[in-house]
Subunit: 224 residues, 2 copies
Amino acid sequence: MSKEELEFMQRFKAGELTVEPGTPILMEGSNAPQLFTALSGMGIRDKVLRNGERQVINFVFPGDFIGLQAGILGEMGHSVEARTAMRLCVFDRSEFWNYFKSHPSRAFDITWLAAVEEHFLGEALATVGQRSALEAIAWALVKIFQRGESLGMVTNNCMELPYTQRDLADALGLSLVHTNKTLGKLKDRQLVSWSDRILQVNDLEALSEVAITSLAPVKPRPFL
Amino acid sequence: MSKEELEFMQRFKAGELTVEPGTPILMEGSNAPQLFTALSGMGIRDKVLRNGERQVINFVFPGDFIGLQAGILGEMGHSVEARTAMRLCVFDRSEFWNYFKSHPSRAFDITWLAAVEEHFLGEALATVGQRSALEAIAWALVKIFQRGESLGMVTNNCMELPYTQRDLADALGLSLVHTNKTLGKLKDRQLVSWSDRILQVNDLEALSEVAITSLAPVKPRPFL
DNA sequence: CGCTGCATTGATGAGTGTCAAAATTGGTGG
DNA sequence: CCACCAATTTTGACACTCATCAATGCAGCG
């Protein structure tokens, strides 16, 4: 990023925000005046149906852009909530278009992130639709772990996971109880263990085998 | 679109392509040199797991942009195949970046489409994950019908649907048999009928009720 | 006219959901 | 430091949606 770009970023950037765990960041259906980039901490994207059922769309990691839909469509399709303390870079939505227009390479990066998200959602759809509970959970843990690795959050095959089993269940379209029992199976097989907010992956290779995925290296992402 | 823009479009546009039903347009995992916009006809996006299970990601309608992932990430996350005869506007991927850089408002449109897709995939995820078979099928038919309406493909509550029940089943993570029986229920209730490639919606209101959605008007989309 | 693909129907059962309750954990105030 | 409470995890029993298997029918097509 050039010096000139950085300078403009500063103008686009309206400030920095620190939020507590549990803080709602964007609400489904809202037309938020602000967009964010996660600088640190983790969050969760979800939406709830009128009957109360909840679907987790994705887990938010540092580097993720939050609010693309609000910025472009004027309405979020899901909510975003902090699950740990988070530092957010705040952008002003009204500046979005200016920014987009005057900095094509940044605009390209935003589209890049959108494309990555589209790619991910396609995979997620395939797992919820086609994988068995065991396969789905294995898939999710592989994805999370790899993302964690690429962000340097993994030490000794361990990373912190601030989510609950309910979150995972709602992400995969499974019941909480069945998710719990299935996690137990993976632990029995010595592939992973997840307790006390710590995810430990013993055999990523074998886990990805269960998940019916080939584990490709995670590609670098543009930032901000 | 200004005259100047249109002119540039022409340069970006490498040509026009007509394909037969069943023609593969882009393959999952490929790094295609070409991108497309569907001008007419319908297609399908899908991906298959290593175990042979198939997930359809979305149905392709006129106006859809095809190949964003290839254009930006260099690799498609799913395949695209024509289901009717289609006319495609062909773009040269190598020109993509130039195009993006020099025409911010077109670039914005592309990102718009990406955001819409992201929005849609979130909803799809919620239906596969949380809706019952009956709800899911109702949801899918509502979506399809509304999309058709916005494109003027609906006459007398009828539109043509070149897909098979297997396609719908694979889109919703259901078995073919169960999909068939569930479609039967909706027909029994006089809500929809779908046979001989014709989808007829008798009571969109009631159908959306079954689907647990509020039927919002379809927003206009940018084109090309 | 016999394929081949798709729609349709019935019978059976596996994979998950639901219900209920206990065990654990973490936080909070006395 | 301990008692109490809410949230989460864990376990067992049972029910049900939906997948699987198997046939038949039906239409398009070479």
